[in-house]
């Protein structure tokens, strides 16, 4: 996907980043420039690379195909038919209906929880990262280097390692087993901050900001009318990262929440899956599979909609780092 962007420099947003980088007097040239140096050169075919690519496509699509096929089976067919073949009955709609109604519709409830965590958590994380990243990129103040070190350090610490200390902390202030236990940690995205920061350095030319100040615009007005638009590809990238991270968040809600009414989909589905184990086991593999399929649909839709921003945003980020 990214290689397609670099060889076709017609993509509007790529060109804009490129142009703004030059205006800002940047020495480093963004990725679009690589393609421009040899505009007529057609990419040479490489059989080895094509095969590797094909293998990778298979590798990526087989699990998805498995999920799609098996979501159409009854539990009986799951136990008795070939994994990548269809069953005796086509039970997709029956499975979907059962997924939504099992245990008084708890799946829909979990779906709502996940949406809440994503909208507030990922949305908030993006907002905070944008404000902070822009501020750090465009305003000189004391301690900026210290912030830089802290942010870089924070990126290096995996969230999983922080989960248990965060749990103890939240437990002391009585926030465990509430939605805040998921939302508050999701609001912090050091990686997003770093991405906006590096992106803003070149995407928002300092000259433009100075011109706006000369014309008497307030900092806030400059931010909302000029900077925000220039930052859009970066913001969407951060937003997508945050959405995916929050949507797939598993370990933190697993230890923070003990009440299933606050579970997100990830933890809920894993609970359904664990039902197949031990004394009094009640396996519902067909619902776990159908539930998983339904869970990835919104993420796939989000990607399809925001894909073009994502590409250009990724490219921008990769060059600056």
């Amino acid at each position: 996907m990214t290689s397609a962007t670099t060889t076709t420099p017609t993509d509007a947003s790529t060109r804009r980043t490129d142009a703004s980088a030059r205006r800002a007097g940047g020495i480093r040239r963004p990725m679009g420039a690589v393609g421009r140096r040899r505009p007529a050169a057609r990419p040479r075919r490489n059989i080895v690379l094509t095969i590797v690519m094909a293998l990778f496509v298979v590798y990526s699509f087989v699990p998805l195909a498995w999920l799609l096929i098996n979501a159409t089976k009854t539990q009986g067919d799951l136990f008795s038919t070939f994994g990548l073949g269809f069953g005796h009955h086509f039970a997709l709609f029956q499975n979907i209906a059962e997924t939504f109604t099992y245990k008084d519709g708890i799946f829909l409830h979990w779906f709502g929880n996940t949406l809440l965590y994503v909208v507030v958590g990922a949305g908030g994380a993006t907002l905070l990262a944008t404000l902070a990243g822009y501020g750090l990129a465009k305003f000189a103040f004391r301690g900026r280097r210290a912030v830089f070190a802290v942010v870089l350090g924070a990126i290096a610490v995996p969230g999983t390692a922080l989960a248990v200390p965060t749990f103890l902390l939240f437990s002391q202030i009585g926030l465990t087993n509430t939605p805040w236990a998921i939302i508050l940690p999701s609001l912090i995205s050091p990686f997003g901050l770093y991405l906006v920061w590096t992106f803003a350095i070149d995407a928002v030319p300092t000259e433009v900001l100075e011109a706006a100040r000369m014309d008497g615009a307030s900092e806030l007005r400059t931010f909302f009318t000029i900077s925000l638009k220039l930052l859009a590809p970066g913001i969407v990238t951060v937003l997508l990262f945050a959405i995916v991270a929050t949507w797939n968040n598993y370990f933190l809600p697993l230890i923070m929440l003990s009440d299933p009414t606050w579970y997100p989909l990830t933890v809920g589905l894993s609970q359904w899956s664990a039902q197949a184990t031990g004394v009094g086991a009640q396996p519902i593999f067909n619902l776990v599979i159908t539930g998983s399929l339904l869970t990835i649909v919104p993420i796939v839709v989000a990607f399809l909609f925001l894909q073009r921003y994502w590409q250009s945003g990724l490219a921008a980020g990769s060059v600056k780092s």
Binding site: G76, S171, I255, S258, S270, Q282
Partner: protein, 450 residues
């Protein structure tokens, strides 16, 4: 068969964190008991009359109906039913709540193997203070032994798992295999079956800590000896060696299906005859009936094979319910617990739901229970076999005070022997080595026994 060996890294991390908390709390020593401490059997009755709200963590499917019946009998008591996760997931949360000092429920389900871990961190109420030690005669030997940890009564048994051999009679008949009564005959049956049908295996075992410890128990082994914080581990004692001498033959000759328990493939194997027997707890019939319907009429039950013809048995799986020290209303919690696990009304609901095998003597020996002849088992009176098995459980078995962690590293140690089809003894030695060093790191005094 009880504990899944799928060891995700995250779960491992969680159990490490949890086990760390156990000993930290244990070493602080006996802290004063919680707010609502103290009480007697009269307090329990008074609390039930007065009413209140308690929280109950469980993953038992029967819980909803049980709680509804309880609230009908005691209208002033409200029980908040929460499924906080199945086994290890719940233990992690429970342990975290213990460490944090709040957030634990009043009553919680804890499997027998995990009880010592919570008992040692002094997070469970000793039910002797409510006079519950008098209930001893109500419960069968195996589970009652499990809920008595280091001189304290830390819970009441919910269900039990005296072991038995479940076998697919249709498969046995098809290949003219007679039902084994000794382990030597069992190995012969394994060979005969696998030669006749290369897809079929006598059973599936890719390394399950719950199964291995139960088998060592049945062979008369005492690999774990616990006295306070002093632990002795000997995974090469005579009982353990007795078990491995039989099981090594199956492992080294690749006579065991490597399908992990409780997966869709495993259920599939139980249904199509590829897995011909299960050596597991008496709670298995409910699972077979509800989840392997395609094999209805094919399965039968026999006593667990023995080493020398003398009937001995062990427990596999099963849970108790405990009252947490954090509970603000321990007397009420104890009252609910007593009704839950020691009243005919509640145990009947539990047994009918297919949730497990009762641990109360009265229910095990009732005529209606003994004379059940389920069509799934072709009309065999299976409960007679299972109840007989419960009487032969060897007393004196002990689990490690960090058994949850121990089980989580079983796949990395003994599991290696399974996957390379080599003697389990080297894997067990490796397991022992890691358990000793882990225990010592955690503040226990752990020695290798001889």
């Amino acid at each position: 068969m009880k504990h899944s060996t799928r060891s995700s890294a995250l779960r491992r991390l969680a159990s490490v964190a949890a086990a760390g908390a156990v000993v930290a709390a244990a070493l602080v020593g006996c802290s004063s008991s919680g707010n609502g401490a103290g009480g007697s059997s009269t307090d329990v009755n008074a609390a039930l009359k007065e009413g209140g709200t308690i929280t109950y963590w469980t993953w038992t499917p029967a819980a909803k109906a049980q709680v509804a019946a309880f609230e009908k009998a005691y209208p002033k008591v409200h029980v908040k039913l929460v499924n906080a996760g199945t086994n290890t997931t719940e233990y992690t949360k429970l342990q975290n709540a213990v460490k944090a000092g709040k957030g634990a429920p009043d009553v919680a389900q804890v499997e027998y193997y995990a009880l010592p871990q919570f008992a040692l961190s002094d997070s469970l109420v000793d039910l002797k203070q409510f006079g519950f030690d008098k209930l001893k005669k109500d419960f069968s030997v195996g589970p009652w032994g499990n809920v008595n940890v280091q001189g304290k009564l830390v819970g009441l048994p919910q269900d039990s798992g005296p072991m038995a051999m479940f076998y697919n009679k249709t498969v046995f008949d098809k290949y003219g295999i007679s039902v084994p009564t000794t382990w030597a005959e069992y190995v012969d049956a394994a060979k005969k079956l696998h030669t006749a049908d290369p897809n079929a295996y006598i059973t599936s075992d890719s390394g399950d800590p719950g199964f291995a410890t139960s088998m060592i128990w049945q062979a008369g082994g005492h690999p774990f000896k616990v006295d306070g914080t002093k632990v002795t581990i000997n995974l090469q004692d005579s009982g353990t060696k007795k078990f491995t001498s039989v099981w090594n033959e199956l492992v080294e000759n690749k006579l065991l299906s490597q399908t992990p328990g409780w997966t869709d493939d495993w259920y599939k194997g139980l249904g199509n005859g590829d897995i011909a027997t299960l050596i597991t707890g008496a709670w298995m019939p409910g699972v077979l009936e509800s989840s392997v319907p395609q094999a209805s009429g094919q399965w039968a039950v026999a006593p667990i094979p023995t080493y020398d013809g003398k009937a001995v048995n062990a427990e596999n799986g099963g849970s108790s319910e405990v009252v947490m020290k954090q509970s603000k209303n321990q007397a009420l919690a104890a009252g609910f617990l007593k009704w839950l696990n020691d009243s005919k009304q509640s145990v009947d609901i539990f047994v009918k739901s297919g949730g497990g095998f009762p641990s109360t003597v009265a229910d095990q020996n009732s005529d209606s229970f003994l004379n059940q002849a389920p069509a799934y088992f072709a009309g065999q009176k299976i409960n007679k076999v299972l109840v007989d098995g419960a009487k032969n459980v060897l007393p004196g078995w002990q689990y490690l005070p960090y058994e949850v962690y121990a089980n989580s590293i079983f796949a990395d140690t003994v599991g290696q022997s399974y996957s390379s089809a080599t003697s389990l003894d080297s894997g067990l030695e490796n397991w022992q080595k890691q358990l000793i060093s882990y225990g010592n790191q955690q503040g226990f005094t752990v020695k290798a026994g001889s």
